[in-house]
């Protein structure tokens, strides 16, 4: 049954990735991987060394007096995120239009739509960029607009039978209309969405029970795979959720106090469903190291250290994880598995939940060991979660390699 399911999934994945928009999008993703690697490592340096409450200076008791340099590094790396997005939009447009217009037997210069879609990503960046929301990028928004712009360009070209001049008034008017619509749309993005913080929502009582957390564990990888930014309330270790504050107050009053919210997004989701990033992708990085295919192994090597510190961006663009059924299924499974297991151990009282806040950059892998009141039990549970996640990912990763060989 497992074999049948996997075969069916691989077939679906193959058919899906052969569709022109997806095929060209994945080609664009893979093209920007070197840029993504530079971006991820710059983020990592900032997060581990230069953040005001970074883990390395904190535990080694060193104070780096490079505030100006650090702030600029963080601002530039955040702007770099949008640049990568702009490159993806531009490259996708180029590959897609080249192939699509070729299919239609039309010859057109794609430079104008490439520039327009590059500008779309930058407009999105300019309207939503703030220092605080460096991780809240909605890939889906830019890709959807890029795709609609591409479609409209193809229809215009098809309708006019390719007779319009490449940089003529008609195409310039088309570009102006597209950019005006995008500027108008970007102006309507609510602040809360662009900052991706939903503190009130995740502080709801629903997320203090195993079922609420399981729903979040299932939805999170799906949202991620569709290019939505994951709320910082789930990803950050310095959370301000009301459940976490209530637990912290209880512990400060009496060391082994009965916690009012033992199961909450911080103690369950952040701790065990996001080890290595959304979908417990540290396990995926480890699996890639043991593949025979050299490109996949290299991807595993590059992504290993960032995955330890919960960044799966290299994998997200390199494999890719976005819009990919074959990687989405194990992501949902590992996320749910980690959540159920941790919820269970907390519920039966074997594990004291993650309760303390930790320095910025603390790996989720060590979160429960650092911040639980039963650190050794927490370490053991994390080990079991990691082991299970690797076992879940392995068959999918093998199929991924096979699929790559077949291509």
């Amino acid at each position: 049954m497992k074999h049948n399911f996997l075969t069916g999934l691989v077939d679906f994945d193959t058919k899906w990735t052969e569709k022109l928009p997806i095929k060209t999008l994945f080609a664009a993703f893979k093209k920007v991987v070197p840029l993504v690697i530079i971006n991820v490592y710059l983020h990592l340096i900032g997060k581990l060394f230069f953040d005001p409450s970074a883990i390395v200076p904190a535990i080694f008791h060193i104070r780096l007096k490079l505030m100006f340099f650090a702030q600029n590094l963080m601002l530039l790396t955040s702007a770099f995120d949008y640049l990568i997005l702009a490159f993806v939009a531009a490259l996708w447009t180029k590959y897609y239009l080249e192939a699509k217009l070729d299919d239609l037997g039309l010859v057109k210069d794609e430079l104008l739509p490439v520039l327009v879609n590059f500008a779309i990503a930058l407009i999105y960046g300019l309207t939503t960029y703030t220092y605080a929301n460096q991780s809240a990028i909605y890939l889906v928004f830019v890709l959807l607009l890029t795709y609609l712009a591409n479609l409209s360009f193809v229809y215009l070209t098809k309708w006019t039978k390719g007779k319009l001049a490449d940089f003529g008034f008609a195409y310039l008017f088309w570009a102006a209309v597209i950019l005006t619509i995008v500027i108008a749309l970007c102006a309507f993005i609510p602040n809360q969405v662009s900052q991706s913080s939903f503190n009130g929502f995740f502080s709801m009582d629903f997320f203090s029970h195993w079922y609420g957390l399981v729903v979040a564990a299932i939805v999170t990888p799906i949202a991620f795979a569709f290019g939505f930014a994951i709320p910082t309330d789930l990803t950050t270790a310095a959370t301000d959720l009301s459940q976490v504050n209530a637990n912290l107050n209880a512990v400060y009053q009496a060391v082994m106090a009965v916690l009012p919210y033992p199961q909450n997004p911080y103690s369950v989701l952040t701790t065990s469903a996001l080890i290595g990033g959304v979908g417990s992708t540290l396990a995926l990085s480890i699996c890639l190291l043991f593949l025979k295919s050299r490109p996949n192994r290299r991807l595993g090597l590059w992504s290993l250290v960032p995955a330890v510190f919960d960044s799966n961006k290299i994998l997200a663009f390199g494999l890719p994880l976005f819009f990919r059924p074959l990687t989405l299924v194990p992501m949902v499974l590992t996320s749910t598995y980690g959540t159920v297991l941790t919820s269970f151990f907390i519920k039966v009282g074997i594990l004291r939940p993650t309760v303390f806040t930790v320095p910025t950059g603390t790996p989720h892998l060590l979160l429960s060991f650092f911040a639980s009141q039963t650190p050794l039990d927490a370490l053991l549970v994390t080990f079991v979660i990691m082991l299970g996640a690797i076992l879940i990912y392995w068959p999918f990763v093998k199929r991924l390699e096979q699929e790559a060989f077949n291509v």
């Binding site: 535990i59 310095a238 060391v255 190291l289 043991f290 595993g300 330890v308 303390f356 060590l366 060991f369």
Partner: protein, 311 residues
């Protein structure tokens, strides 16, 4: 069923075989990563243990210092006369111990005086060697104040505090509260600003300086449970000799509707000149009643007293 169990039992054997067959680079990368994580885990856990004890001490601490920040061109001695007056009145119940911290130009801190752990409301003065009257200096001093606050907390384990800022000291507090204050680590109860020019030397309320605009933009970050008293000095009905009353009153654009309570007060009399505001008897009364006794929580009482001071 038996087949599945048998398959599960072969996992360790298959894992060992996989490890032997893996590329050398993969083995080295994985081993080094595991070692690095192990080192990080041990050091991090040790750090967390000391940090928890510190946090617990902070949470349980009864110490609620009053932290004073002087204005531009003033030293950490600015409040000496005020402290002498306040301490002379409380000799029987115990004087407030005084600690002075100076932030030197190179960022280092110089301490003088001491804090008594038996004091519930000791006084701390934080002064800046770099204290010119301009916005970039105020921003830099606010950032330094953040560092000083963290250091003070780790030394003296307090969470609750009240703040007094004279002249630009009030601007430094406002910038600090908007940009560096975290309600996770601190709880500020009351902020009192004395002759603080929220719109610098601008007397017109329609012309907002960059600083005032920035403060208004960042006012959402102010703690919502904060009580703010803005005290203006009036020497000749328009200013206190240095700061225009209108500029002080511009504080309402920053604090009103953003904090729990915002009260504006104007004091006059012999010592209502800008530099002498901390010694003004009305100001001493306000600090005594609103900060030291902290009756601000009692409805009606503090607001009425503050209004009485208005000429």
């Amino acid at each position: 069923m038996f087949k599945s169990v048998k398959k599960v039992l072969t996992i360790p054997k298959r894992t060992i075989r996989l490890w032997h067959g893996a590329a050398r680079s993969s083995k080295i990368a994985l081993t080094l990563t595991i070692l690095a994580v192990a080192v990080l885990a041990i050091l991090g856990r040790m750090w967390m243990l000391t940090e928890h004890q510190n946090d617990r001490a902070i949470q349980k601490s009864r110490m609620q210092p009053v932290i004073f920040v002087p204005g531009s061109s003033a030293t950490i001695q600015r409040f000496n006369s005020l402290f002498t007056t306040l301490n002379s009145e409380t000799k029987e119940s115990g004087t407030h111990s005084i600690l002075k911290v100076q932030v030197n130009s190179d960022g280092s801190l110089s301490y003088s005086g001491h804090l008594s752990s038996s004091n519930r409301q000791p006084f701390i003065v934080v002064g800046f060697e770099k204290n010119q009257d301009n916005y970039p200096t105020i921003q830099a001093d606010a950032q330094s104040l953040g560092t000083v606050m963290t250091e003070l907390q780790s030394k003296y384990h307090f969470r609750n505090f009240s703040a007094v800022g004279h002249s630009n000291g009030g601007l430094i507090w406002t910038d600090y509260l908007e940009n560096y204050y975290s309600s996770n680590t601190f709880h500020i109860k009351t902020l009192m600003t004395l002759g603080t020019p929220f719109n610098f030397s601008e007397s017109s309320t329609t012309k907002k300086t960059t600083m005032l605009s920035d403060f208004i933009d960042g006012s959402d970050e102010l703690p919502s449970d904060l009580t703010v008293y803005s005290v203006a000095g009036s020497d000749d009905y328009t200013d206190d000799g240095t700061v225009n009353v209108q500029s002080v009153l511009s504080g309402k654009y920053i604090f009103q509707k953003k904090v729990a309570k915002y009260t504006q007060t104007t004091v006059s009399g012999d010592n209502a000149q800008h530099s002498k505001l901390p010694e003004n008897p009305e100001v001493v009364n306000l600090i005594r009643e609103l900060i030291l006794d902290n009756k601000a929580g009692r409805p009606g009482e503090s607001a009425n007293r503050a209004k009485k001071a208005t000429p």
